[in-house]
């Protein structure tokens, strides 16, 4: 496939691109997901102390 003799190495070639696409899709879906802010974590930790 793609001129690459070994099927497993052709698979690696395709998976490089697939893994990259996975990262792009994840980043787009979670683009504005902030979770708990670090400043809130610091304040919360100080309260406990």
């Amino acid at each position: 496939m793609l001129g690459i003799a070994s099927p497993e190495l052709a698979l690696a070639y395709v998976l490089c691109l697939a893994a990259s696409v996975l990262c792009v899709v994840y980043g787009i879906i979670k683009w504005n997901d902030t979770g708990v802010l670090s400043m809130e974590l610091q304040d919360s930790a100080k309260e406990d102390e």
Binding site: I4, L9, Y13, L15, L37, A45
Partner: protein
């Protein structure tokens, strides 16, 4: 030559100007983290990329791909899936929350606070201080080989000159995580790699045609590589052969997984303000890594055909064109095959790759020695932490330069893999379990970390022939270069000399953490509740 040097100087002026600009703005901002949060996503993206990727990845591992071919693409798969996706999503978010809650400033400090142990912090700091210079030296050798080939400056002069420039850069604001500089550097790297890919494929007539030409070159694989099990650059290595073990256990697995426990990367998770930065970094990182290591490995492999067909190197494959030094394959390819204008810009892109990564390595090494080992581990009273930090960074720079001077040729990929493997064996179990399992105890973490380190060290000194032979201790004590040589030649035990230490040490380290934790005293419930409060 004059134009090359002038362009290099122009580049350095831009970098220092941007570093100064960022440093001044950071000092004026009331909140350093807020300044980072307001950065344009493009600036953020390119800066992440510049710190992820170094000359080790492009020149060292690109050279390895020139020698071994497409099997290295499995490392790119792991770089993206493990080094970006799993690292940021499953390690990064929890590390940020736990790290900020515990007020940890370094990776060893995170471990020390999680397990309430000064020993763990000090020991982790000591390991990083002792061994990160070897990894940093690999990055330094990468840029110096490029300077040596492209500017025809002797390696020793390049080493000293670049170290001086870098020391000034680190002092003038490189440590502040100046994102303008890194964004400029990242953009340059990204553009140069794309040009290199287009050049390689177009000069060989297209994607499939280029791969096919490389496939057809297999009969010209050097005899010593064939003897080690190599079949061809797109055919890979024979399953279980010595070179198959080197490629997959050391270069692919060791580096691909070891990235999860890299101290200079883990620190980054704790410096962002929210999960948003990490989510976006997954997107940018995924694209950037495939454009960096993916292209470096494809072009590294294809360089065999291009060298072979060229007039200057007719009939020679990459490792022969580079005079037998794997680390010179990419520099020679860029200098002697690519157009001259590209050689200059690529050199500057490698300056960028080396500077941003070395700055973070020096910083991680310096804080490990000063804060983690000396101040926390040894319990020393420090009145001026900034002064101590500067001194320890200076020590790391000197040690790194010495390593870069004494290490042999074809070492970049191996030295990088050594540090990544060591981090995986010593830190990954207690780091990962510390984030996900309340049941892991202080004793479990300590035994795992020390055990992982000792097993790695034993394996390096007495079994893994790539290190045990030159170090000579095994020869002095047992009369052989590796204990594996005592087994029947070709047997599974004999082949252990080619298996990377982390394949053995990391599972044992995980097992030690698990078993010792089951049998030892638990950490106080209030402390665990505190660690887990906002996870």
């Amino acid at each position: 030559m004059t134009i090359k040097i002038i362009l290099a100087l122009v580049y350095l002026v831009i970098v220092f100007w941007l570093a100064f600009k960022g440093w001044r703005e950071t000092r004026q901002a009331s909140d350093y983290m807020l300044a980072g949060r307001q950065m344009h996503p493009f600036v953020m993206a390119m800066s992440y990329g510049a710190t992820f990727i170094s000359t080790s990845a492009i020149i060292g591992f690109g050279g390895a791909a020139g020698m071994f071919g497409f099997p290295l693409l499995w490392l790119t798969v792991l770089n993206i899936f493990v080094g970006v996706f799993i690292a940021f999503v499953f390690f990064g978010k929890r590390t940020r929350r736990m790290g900020v809650t515990l007020d940890a400033h370094t990776f060893p400090e995170l471990l020390g606070l999680r397990y309430q142990s000064r020993f763990i912090q000090g020991f982790a700091g000591l390991i990083i201080f002792l061994f990160i210079p070897i990894y940093a030296a690999a990055v330094l050798i990468g840029i110096c080989r490029m300077i040596e080939v492209n500017l025809e400056i002797p390696f020793a002069h390049a080493l000293l000159g670049f170290t001086v420039i870098l020391a000034v850069y680190v002092i003038t604001g490189g440590l502040k995580g100046v994102m303008y500089t890194e964004a400029f550097q990242g953009s340059l790297m990204f553009a140069m790699m794309l040009v290199m890919l287009v050049f390689a494929y177009s000069s060989l007539g297209g994607v499939t045609e280029a791969h096919q030409a490389l496939t057809d070159l297999a009969p010209h694989m050097p005899e010593n590589l064939k003897a080690g099990g190599m079949l061809g650059w797109t055919q890979g290595a024979q399953l279980g052969s010595p070179l198959w073990l080197v490629i997959y256990t050391t270069l692919v697995w060791g580096v691909g997984v070891g990235v999860l426990a890299q101290p200079q990367l883990a620190v980054r998770y704790m410096t962002v303000n929210s999960d948003r930065e990490l989510n976006r970094a997954v997107l940018f990182g995924g694209v950037f890594i495939v454009a960096m290591t993916g292209i470096a490995f494809v072009v590294g492999a294809l360089s065999n055909v291009i060298f072979f067909q060229s007039q200057a190197f007719a009939g020679k494959v990459a490792i022969q064109a580079a005079g037998g030094n794997m680390d010179k394959i990419i520099p020679v390819f860029v200098t002697d095959i690519m157009p001259e204008w590209f050689g200059v810009l690529f050199l500057l892109a490698m300056f960028a790759a080396a500077m941003s990564t070395l700055a973070s390595q020096y910083h991680a090494g310096g804080t490990s020695l000063g804060r983690d080992f000396y101040e926390k581990g040894m319990g020393a009273q420090v009145s001026d932490p900034l002064k101590v930090n500067r001194a320890t960074v200076g020590i790391i720079i000197i040690i790194t330069t010495i390593w870069a001077w004494v290490l042999p040729p074809s070492i970049i990929a191996k030295a990088t893999a050594f540090f990544f493997g060591l981090c995986a064996a010593a830190f990954l179990p207690c780091f990962f379990l510390g984030l996900y399992w309340r049941g892991v105890t202080r004793a479990g973490a300590m035994v795992s970390m020390v055990g992982g380190f000792i097993i790695s060290a034993f394996y390096l000194l007495f079994v893994h022939s790539a290190e045990s032979a030159p170090l000579g201790l095994c020869q002095a004590m047992f009369g052989v270069d590796s204990l594996a040589l005592l087994a029947e030649k070709g047997s599974a035990l004999w082949k252990l000399q080619f298996v990377d230490p982390n394949i053995v040490a990391m599972p044992i380290s995980f097992a030690l953490a698990f078993l010792v934790s089951l049998a030892s005293a638990k950490l106080p419930k209030e402390h665990l509740d505190f660690c887990w409060k906002r996870l």
